[in-house]
Amino acid sequence: MPGRSNETARRIAMLRDMARIRAFEQEAVAAMRSGEAPGVVHPSIGQEGVAVGVCSNLKRADRITSTHRGHGHAIAKGADARAMMLELHGRAGGSCGGKGGSMHIADFAVGMLGANGVVGAGIPIACGAAQAIRLTKEDAIVACFFGDGAVNRGPFLEGMNWAALYRLPVLFVCEDNGFAAFTRNSAVTAGGGPAVRAEACGVPATAVNGEDALAVDAAASELVARIRGGAGPQFLHAKCYRWEGHTGTDVAAYRPAEEAAAARERDCIRRLAAVLEAEGVPGAEIASIEAQAVAEMQGHRGAAMVAPWPDPGAAFSDVQDAGAPA
């Protein structure tokens, strides 16, 4: 569009990715509920602004580590959404050939080093990735996503200390959606919270409203610049809310319905859309971006439903070279 600023174009791209994440997960949850997709999915619906706000500041060479709730991180980092949907359906052509499923989505081609089924496990991995990047003099950084529940696991402390000690190029992103599975995380967490803990270990922390994608973007931009400048690890504490249950089947009976309803009112996508509209982007354009996102993901789901299953023999490949299963 003539006269549209780079900044606006960038924001539109952010909106597009957020809409794509939401559409992806809505299809994924539906596919899981209907039984088309096996296993469980952990949707990040409502949290899209964190993934996109952070990843819009990353280059392809940068790496991310993710969690059990990792679809958003992957899509925001540029992972192939069709391959992801195939993976969730356990089909040939899936990101991991059907071996991983939702909890192990990875796309190494774009630096997405993997979702993880173990809370907090990505933290040490991110530290080591950054150490290797330093050793090989690669021009890249690592963003490490984890939930508020992970700050109660030992590797959190170890990793913060480690990254600060070696001044590693890592952006730690705590997606604080208030819950750890069925438990309100504040009921099992003492002290001043994730940021205070990170700072105690020597990692400077910044708090941000995770429901405001532009705020996340601005904070991440600043922190990423510092990290690229050699300032060592930085910590971003993003408050947000998990709209859905812990998994696609959890009805989240452990919290008042109004609380979730209120969070839906604060929708990060609508919020960004409103900014764009105020900047002069036509509502129709926004609607069309969202519609395209839905169409894309429905297409992927449709493709996934009819895609071939992997060859059963694949169950025994990619284990190891020496001593591989016969």
């Binding site: 909890m103 009921a187 992997p310 694949a314 284990v319």
Partner: protein
């Protein structure tokens, strides 16, 4: 006798033990919400948050705190959520709990139960499907229990709670919703006594945990009369029953969900060979998983799965050898 699920049988047994002994309490993630399989459902209402304790995601400390609490006279139930997460608490289980009585010369005991639901369930993939029972049988100090029916879930949980030894109780995730008859005030079931699930002379078939119904069905389907043993506890295990049977049948098949290589089936085979002597043996086979992680996709997972058909085939092979 009432028909109920495995989860309900375990839940009732725990409630009965908690009523009987005020020193019994449980700690783990989401317990106040009933646990992820409903095996703690409603307990907080009866016993309060001092005895049904929801914890942070801190497996090392869930396990280690269990030990400290046992050393101060209570009988904690340490809930690991799923067995794989025990990997985050192995030092506490193996170097602390299992050894505390021995290394302190008998001054203290870790009288506690570690519950760790294990195995394949709903395409949970590599990090949520492991069966590491063989590991724990290798660790001096631990009792290892692996029930395969609702009745045993109840009876063995009671024994585990009353045991002065630390007991690792591996519930098969895939059987939480399986139903069976359970006695109304189920008696504790002693460790080391196999359940003789079927009788026959063609072969001795040994199994446990999630493979119990699979083996029972496979044995029925192949129509060959075998001695089928559900070990129920892996350490101690009912070597006497198995050896006696193998002396008669001369044929041994061990079936388990875990990886075959260095699985507990290897120990069963080795002990039986040592006890029976090679002269008395005509055929020996282990049926377990290939040495590969558990994949997500159904056809891949199925390729790793022990099925009644594979059991039937194996029985035919062993009985016919």
């Amino acid at each position: 006798m009432t028909r109920m699920t495995f989860a309900e049988a375990a839940r009732r047994a725990l409630a009965e033990e908690m009523r009987r002994d005020p020193l019994v309490w449980a700690l783990g993630e989401d317990l106040v919400q009933g646990g992820i399989f409903g095996q703690y459902k409603g307990l907080v209402e009866e016993f309060g948050t001092e005895r049904i304790v929801s914890t942070p995601i801190s497996e090392s400390t869930i396990m280690g705190a269990g030990l400290g609490a046992a050393l101060c006279g209570t009988r904690p139930i340490v809930e690991m959520r799923i067995a794989d997460f025990t990997l985050c608490a192995m030092d506490e289980l193996v170097s602390q709990i299992a050894k505390v009585r021995y290394m302190f010369g008998g001054q203290g005991r870790a009288s506690l139960v570690v519950r760790m639901p294990q195995g394949m369930w709903r395409n949970s993939a590599a990090q949520h499907s492991q069966c590491l029972e063989a590991w724990l049988t290798h660790i001096p100090g631990l009792v290892v229990v692996a029930p395969g029916t609702p009745a045993d879930a109840a009876g063995l949980l009671k024994s585990a709670i009353r045991s002065d030894d630390p007991v690792v109780l591996m519930e098969p995730k895939n059987l939480w919703t399986a139903e069976g008859e359970v006695a109304d005030d189920a008696a504790p079931i002693p460790f080391g006594v196999a359940r003789h699930a079927a009788s026959g002379d063609a072969a001795t078939v040994v199994t446990w945990s999630a493979c119990v119904p699979v083996v029972e069905q496979g044995a029925r389907e192949c129509g060959i009369a075998c001695d089928v043993f559900d070990l129920r506890s892996l350490w101690p295990w009912d070597e006497a029953a198995v050896v006696t049977s193998v002396r008669r049948t001369g044929r041994l098949l061990v079936v388990h969900e875990a990886v075959t290589v260095s699985g507990f089936g290897a120990e069963v085979v080795a002990r039986v060979v040592e006890a029976v002597g090679t002269g008395g043996l005509r055929a020996v086979e282990r049926l377990g998983a290939a040495r590969a992680p558990v994949p997500f996709s159904p056809p891949l997972e199925n390729a790793m799965r022990i099925t009644p058909a594979r059991v039937a085939e194996a029985i035919r092979r062993v009985a016919g050898a």
